[in-house]
């Protein structure tokens, strides 16, 4: 196996560092992960809100993404309660964005002409965000490594400037580069595996999500955060309101994993979350984006 002979497969943190360096050089702000639980990097305000409106914006960050239903107690080699997305937003999408993305793979040590790299149609839709886009899954020798999306709508609003979102699935990419069949065997840092850092968290969070989360508490929290979001939108304090919406979204995911919501209620709760996300998007646009990159803003 030729890949295995190349002993320098990057470890997990080297991969992140390499992507950081690459995208910083392309003018991206290196943001940090958002500090509220989210299901995907798209929910970070640096994506969901910043892709609204006409202002140029480039950002890159790692977003730990929690998906309670995907938890498998750390027993499944490929399924995780929480995984890491490396998220890049380029707004507006530059003409040479595909070449730029491919250059980022070369920066990770891949000789692209030695491989089979494919852009295969895959459109993206997040109904709870009133968001959709078109693009591809990027495959490397049959492994899906990145979701590549031109956003078209966000929060139910047609976008003024079309952003491109690159979401690298860090675990999948690292497993491929390091040739590890189990995510838990990934080398995170010299002598440190992904499993040694994360397996216990997977076990406990899965047990919480599937067995011990208290539906009544979750539901009460959902109601409270929802009311808060509405109150804050009335002021308006958009960013705190949006935080409350994110909490609602995560609480919904927990209730769902717990099997604690009936079918009709499921539709209803999703609808309520969507309405709030849309309201945040509209309010954010209405108040104007005073904060543009490089300037102190209201955030």
């Amino acid at each position: 196996m030729l890949m295995a002979k190349r002993t320098q497969a990057l470890n997990f943190q080297q991969m992140i560092l390499a992507l950081d360096r690459f995208w910083a050089r392309e003018g991206c702000v290196l943001e940090e992960a958002y500090d509220t639980e989210v299901g995907a990097g798209t929910l970070h305000p640096a994506t969901f809100l910043r892709t609204l409106g006409p202002e140029p914006w480039r950002v890159a960050y790692v977003q730990p993404s929690r998906r309670p239903v995907d938890g498998r107690y750390g027993e499944n080699p490929n399924r995780l309660y929480k995984h890491y997305q490396y998220q890049v937003i380029l707004k507006p999408a530059p003409d040479e964005v595909q070449a730029l993305f491919l250059a980022s793979l070369e920066h990770l040590g891949l000789r692209l002409d030695h491989h089979d790299v494919r852009f295969l149609e895959d459109d993206w839709e997040a109904p709870t965000l009133g968001a959709w886009g078109v693009g591809w899954q990027v495959f490397l020798d049959g492994q899906e490594i990145t979701q590549f999306t031109y956003f078209q709508q966000m929060g139910g609003l047609d976008l003024d400037a079309i952003s491109v979102e690159l979401t690298y699935g860090l675990e999948r990419l690292a497993q491929f580069l390091q040739r590890k069949a189990s995510v838990f065997d990934l080398i995170w840092a010299p002598g440190v595996t992904y499993g040694s850092l994360r397996r216990e968290e997977e076990r406990e969070q899965s047990a919480y999500g599937f067995e011990y989360a208290d539906p009544a508490t979750l539901r009460a929290l959902f109601e409270a955060h929802e009311a808060d979001a509405r109150r804050l939108l009335g002021i308006p304090l958009v960013l705190p309101a949006y935080d409350a919406v994110l909490r609602c979204s995560h609480l919904f995911n927990l209730l769902d994993a717990r099997g604690a919501i009936g079918v009709a209620q499921r539709v209803e709760l999703m609808g309520r979350t969507r309405a709030l996300a849309r309201a945040c998007a509209s309010a954010y646009l209405r108040q104007g984006v005073e904060s543009s990159p490089g300037e102190p803003g209201r955030e």
């Binding site: 890949m3 002409d113 494919r118 459109d123 490397l140 400037a161």
Partner: protein, 712 residues
């Protein structure tokens, strides 16, 4: 894709338009190329530009239009413009007046060139206006951008090119007329002569000096423009590679087509797998993993068993194939191990837990959970079993399969491989010791999965398929989700087609009205609403049946004539319609229809409404043989007495061709009757008796069809 109108012009110029894009959705490329050719043909024609040969070709990264033997200018356009009336344009001496001069000036022609013509009864002056054709390049500069902007894709996108919408972003344009760039702009991209080669094999740009050089340049840039060539490379290479492991590839047509349109330089690569890993999984899981998830071809041996190997198609050349091979092998192995993990996870659980989980899975909106759906299906399945009087063993299998049919939706494997619903349920049913008939029915109840797809073969499978679809239809109508226009998001029409096909092919004598009546009963609703639901479902099912029979070549009026009377069970309807269709080719038909219409008309005039109940047995009562006095009426009666019992028994055994042959014997006697006999005789007793005779005759016709609907 090419068209060749017009005459040969050896030295005429050649056009090249290449629209370079980011990777288009593979399924959208062929339709886009077809539209481009269609639109170009129309637009060039309208613009009076002749081309000897128009063609489109391309890949997911380029849509290419070429024209050979293009005229270098537009044909001149000569139009006749009507001016003032001749008597105003010329004075008494025949000299042009000021009006004629003014008109000639306005049309840019000499006043001497005006002619007087007879138009619509008046005499007018006419100017022959010649619009000189413009050079092709000038015209194309305007036309080609409009052509590109008019291309449609299933999903259109924007990408910071103003409001321009396309399938994927346009990144370069080559527009050449022979060696000259046509200076046009599409989606903000200016046309030039620089094209782009294969993404990895020939990165960078290449200049096209002349339009005629394009194909050669593409070949050097490692792009195979011809879809046929790509297809041959994929299919041929894959078959050869499969041969090296003593197998043949499963060349799934959909996958092949997708690969043809998602590559520019396809190169098949053989990958190998561990035999025990492949053997540990149900073959269908391996096939779906390879085919749907990894876009690889599976390989089977002479007995149809999977060989632990696959062929993947790289978009690139043959260098470093080992890296590509080991990469794909690694990924496929990981996916299969994933599937194995799900299989083992499912093995720790069972049907009871999966069914319990169905209480939390939404069915069609407004219709509760899938568990609710299942209990309705169980209900209807039981009714079907009783109505058809099926055997106890079939009944038990149906009952059990109905309860288990949707359980696999909550298994890990089906969540991972949704396309395997049913198949996985069957596999798990076998593993858990369910009867084979139960396993088969679980799998088969999803059949037919589309038009022309395989049907359920077992009786329990067929009945479960019917029950599942009938409940879905009734529920959708009940919830106000009937299909409208081209919108049928819940597949109601497909379900109706499935029902009609299964009933027909299994010869199940179930009345559609009863089937949907029972299906509607499984919903909690007022009786009136249920009746409405059942009626709507019957209507949809009949529409599908009409469609199916029309496709068989049966005429609308034949089908409608059979639908109008008698039983509404599908095999019976089909048998009657087919028999009537055969009869219609025979010479007796016009006389028969005319005869029936005369009978029908006179009965309606006499207020005999009972004829509407065609199948009613009218042999009893009304007719008194001693009152038959005319030879013609006695003859008709005799003919009817001979025909009626035979046609009745033929109809009972559904031998409708025989039944119709009996009816045909009535044509002559009916004709004779109306020639010789006065139905509305002054004597009331005679009149009533004749009407009674005609009622019997009419009733015989209406056992098969309403002949009055037939258009002769």
């Amino acid at each position: 894709m090419s068209r060749r109108p017009g005459a040969r012009r050896p030295s005429a110029p050649r056009l090249l338009l290449e629209i370079g894009t980011e990777e288009l959705p593979p399924a959208a490329v062929r339709p886009a190329l077809e539209q481009l050719l269609r639109d170009a043909t129309a637009v060039l024609g309208d613009a009076r530009l002749d081309a000897e040969r128009l063609a489109t070709t391309g890949t997911l990264r380029r849509l290419v239009l070429t024209a050979q033997g293009l005229s270098s200018r537009q044909r001149d356009l000569v139009t006749q413009v009507r001016g003032p009336a001749a008597r105003i344009a010329y004075d008494a001496d025949g000299c042009p007046t000021a009006a004629a001069h003014g008109f000639a000036r306005s049309q840019g022609v000499a006043v001497e060139s005006l002619r007087a013509c007879e138009i619509e009864g008046g005499r007018y002056v006419v100017a022959e206006v010649r619009e000189t054709g413009r050079p092709a390049a000038e015209v194309l500069r305007e036309l080609l951008p409009r052509l590109a902007a008019g291309l449609t894709f299933p999903k259109m996108m924007r990408w910071n090119a103003g409001g321009f919408r396309f399938g994927r972003p346009i990144r370069w344009i080559v527009a050449l007329l022979d060696g000259r760039v046509i200076p046009l702009e599409i989606a903000g991209v200016r046309a030039g002569r620089r094209t782009v080669g294969h993404r990895f094999l020939a990165p960078g740009r290449a200049a096209v000096a002349r339009a005629a050089d394009y194909e050669g340049i593409m070949r050097r840039a490692r792009v195979l423009l011809s879809a046929e060539e790509r297809r041959a490379r994929i299919a041929g290479g894959t078959t050869t590679l499969a041969g090296t492991v003593a197998g043949r590839p499963v060349l799934d047509e959909a996958l092949l087509e997708e690969l043809v349109w998602s590559t520019e330089h396809p190169t098949p690569v053989l990958g190998r797998l561990e035999a025990d890993l492949v053997a540990a999984l149900p073959p269908i899981v391996v096939r779906v993993t390879l085919q749907h998830h990894q876009k690889c071809f599976g390989i089977v041996d002479g007995s149809g068993a999977l060989v632990p190997a696959f062929v993947t198609v790289r978009d690139g050349g043959t260098s470093h194939l080992d890296v590509v091979r080991t990469g794909h092998e690694w990924v496929v192995r990981a996916r299969l191990k994933d599937a194995l993990f799900f299989l083992e996870e499912d093995r720790r659980s069972g049907f009871d837990q999966w069914n319990e989980a169905l209480t939390r899975v939404a069915h069609v909106e407004g219709l509760g959970t899938v568990a609710d759906h299942v209990s309705r299906v169980c209900h209807l399945a039981r009714w079907l079993a009783d109505a058809l009087g099926i055997s106890d063993s079939d009944g038990r299998a149906l009952d059990r399969a109905a309860r288990l049919c949707k359980a696999d939706l909550t298994t890990s494997l089906v969540r991972e491989f949704p396309e395997l619903q049913g198949a996985i349920g069957a596999i798990y049913a076998r593993e858990r010791g369910e009867a084979e008939t139960v396993a088969v029915a679980i799998e088969e109840h999803y059949a037919p999965r589309g038009l022309g797809a395989d049907l359920p073969r077992s009786l329990p499978g067929a009945l479960l398929s019917l029950a599942d679809r009938a409940v879905l239809m009734a529920g959708a109508v009940h919830a106000g989700l009937e299909p409208s226009g081209s919108q049928d998001p819940h597949g109601i029409r497909r379900a109706a087609s499935g029902i009609a096909t299964v009933l027909r092919e299994h010869g199940l004598a179930i009345s559609l009205r009863e089937l949907f009546g029972q299906a509607a009963m499984t919903f909690d609703a007022p009786d009136g609403d249920r009746a409405r639901v059942a009626a709507a479902c019957v209507r949809i099912a009949q529409q599908r049946l009409v469609g199916m029979l029309t496709e068989e070549g049966l005429a609308y009026d034949t089908i409608n004539a059979t639908l109008a009377v008698g039983s509404d069970d599908v095999p019976d309807l089909v048998a009657r319609a087919r028999a009537l269709h055969e009869l219609r080719a025979q010479p007796v038909m016009p006389l028969l229809v005319t005869g029936y219409l005369r009978v029908h008309r006179i009965l309606v005039q006499a207020g005999r409404t009972s004829i509407g109940e065609g199948a009613r047995d009218v042999a009893q009562g009304g007719l008194r043989e001693e009152l038959l006095v005319e030879p013609a009426e006695m003859e008709l009666h005799g003919a009817w007495l001979r025909a009626h019992p035979r046609l009745t028994s033929a109809a009972q055994s559904r031998q409708y061709a025989l039944a119709l042959a009996e009816i045909a014997t009535l044509a002559g006697p009916i004709d004779g009757f109306f020639d010789k006999v006065l139905v509305n005789a002054p004597d009331a007793a005679l009149r009533e008796n004749r009407l009674a005779l005609l009622e019997r005759v009419s009733g015989s016709f209406r056992k098969i069809a309403d002949f009055g609907v037939l258009v002769i």
